[in-house]
Amino acid sequence: MKTMKAAKVKKHGEIGENCWSIWLEASEIVDEVNPGQFIHVKLNNGEKLLPRPLSICETDTSSNTLRLVYAVVGKGTEALSQVKTGETLRILGPLGNGFDINQSASKSIIVGGGMGIPPLLELSKNIPGKKEIYLGYSSTPFLLEEFEKQNADIYVSTDDGCFGYKGTVIDLMRYNNAQGDSLYSCGPKPMLKALSGWAEKNKIPAQVSLEERMACGVGACLVCTCKVKKENENDWKHQRVCADGPVFRSQEVVWDE
């Protein structure tokens, strides 16, 4: 039986402006990870009961560790940021379906925005062939060094123009005339929506990783749903981001919200 596991914190610290990196020892989990999957992290905090979903940023099978990169946005991530090296966290995973990597693509486009960027690192490592990677930040970049180690063309945009192109990552893709036969993306919903339009126009099959507030993380509670088009019908249904996603084909997502 699978179960929540105690994972020892190997390394933990701020790697950028409100951007934290934590390495966890998680032997049985590490080998199973598909890029784009996430884990559920239970906080050692009586006030909050629910685990927090965080994408797996990268894995290191030699040391049996995996990395999460996160921003402090509320009480849960605040509590997480206080956890010290050597302490243990309870984690569940890997959860969800990762990206469906097109092994025969000659060139792939990878697009990340803000805290959607972390899972794209493990993805980039696993995608064969040529890659254009677009990374959009609000201001200071993070994980850039790690991406630069990938065999890929890296393009960076920032909202405030602090670094790289000033504007959205979609603006940058347009400006750059991005090219590829597969697109993978993770980021805030407005970005994914715009990207989905771009991909449709450019006839590139795109996969997007969505976020929604979660409880169980395993598909049982139905709180984490998103709207997905029904096949061959002018209707939609609710699907679970945790178990049916978090990665969806951009064309099947109903972007109305």
Binding site: K2, C216, A220, L222, A243, E257
Partner: protein, 309 residues
């Protein structure tokens, strides 16, 4: 007390004529159809799997966000999303039938006809019991009115009893002035068991964005925060009716389960705890077993009768 018995307490219970191997069940809506937790829990170990709410036709459920975390609890506003009774019968029952556990199906509806329709369809199904959900706070039509109105509650039980083949457990809403009144009314109409409590109607507000957190504005509060209210109501109802009661609301440990049984419950259900720990159901089971050993209880019935005062 007999030493041998205490080393190996008998956890089995009789719930309205159905024998369960132990009192631990899943709370409807928190355990999917069992399949989702099958990787984490050996379903054979559970007294019963109570599946999510099933309605006559597919329901899409509420807009997101459907969850908000609160101090020691959570609000949900799923709105009974489900694929309808036909899909449920063809997909989920065959899966559950592979296990040696009891199957209890939570029945949802927006009208008496709809409740009866589901019960009629399920009459043909190989399941052990129906749980009539007259208490979902997330459905505007139906749910809230049936569960909080004594006459409507009695009426829907009466009608469903006419068409159902399996024993009928009725799930009560805590959002009422006097829960014993509703309990007595549904018992009088033939309810074979009572389960309680469903969630407390609550709300969470996002002060920064100045709006309700839930897409549905209000939702149902569950988790340890509500345990004192649940225990009180179970205690009151167990002293008002003769039918067995399945208690729930914030059960996280074996000791919590014991508290509900001390209050008078025959069985207990584990809900929100599954989200905190996917093995919660078996952890509660093992905790209850060890409680019984330490306290020298040889059967669940002994706990039910042990409360002082």
């Amino acid at each position: 007390m007999n030493e041998k018995k205490i080393n190996m307490p008998d956890l089995s219970i009789d719930l309205a004529g159905i024998k369960l191997k132990n009192p631990i069940m899943t709370a409807s809506g928190t355990f999917g159809s069992g399949k989702e937790y099958g990787e984490y829990v050996d379903l054979n170990r559970l007294g019963a799997v109570v599946v999510k709410g099933v309605s006559l036709t597919p329901w899409k459920g509420n807009p997101t966000p459907r969850v908000a975390e609160t101090y020691g609890g959570m609000l949900n506003a799923v709105g009974l999303q489900n694929p309808g009774v036909d899909a449920f019968m063809s997909e989920d029952i065959p899966f559950l039938k592979k296990y040696d556990t009891r199957i209890i199906v939570n029945v949802s509806g927006k009208s008496i006809e709809e409740y009866c329709g589901v019960a009629e369809r399920l009459a043909e199904a190989d399941i052990d019991m129906l749980e009539l959900n007259i208490s979902c706070p997330n459905i505007k039509e139906g749910g809230i009115t049936f569960g909080t109105d004594t006459k409507m509650a009695a009426l829907v039980v009466k009608e469903v009893k006419k068409v159902s083949r399996q024993p009928l457990m009725v799930k009560l809403s805590p959002n009422v002035t006097d829960i014993t009144e509703i309990a007595k009314a549904v018992e009088a109409e033939g309810a074979d068991a009572i389960s309680m409590i469903n969630t407390l109607l609550g709300m969470a507000i996002d002060a920064k964005n100045k709006r309700p957190i839930l897409g549905n504005v209000m939702g149902g509060l569950s988790g340890p925060a509500i345990k004192p209210v649940a225990l009180r109501m179970v205690y009151q109802v167990c002293r008002s009716v003769k039918v067995p009661v399945v208690g729930m609301g914030g059960i996280m440990t074996g000791e919590d389960a014991a508290e509900f049984i001390l209050a008078g419950a025959t069985g207990v259900a584990v809900g929100t705890a599954n989200f905190t720990n996917p093995s919660a159901t078996v952890d509660v089971l093992e905790g209850l077993e060890s409680y019984m050993k330490h306290q020298g209880f040889s059967s669940v019935g002994e706990i039910q009768n042990a409360m002082k005062k």
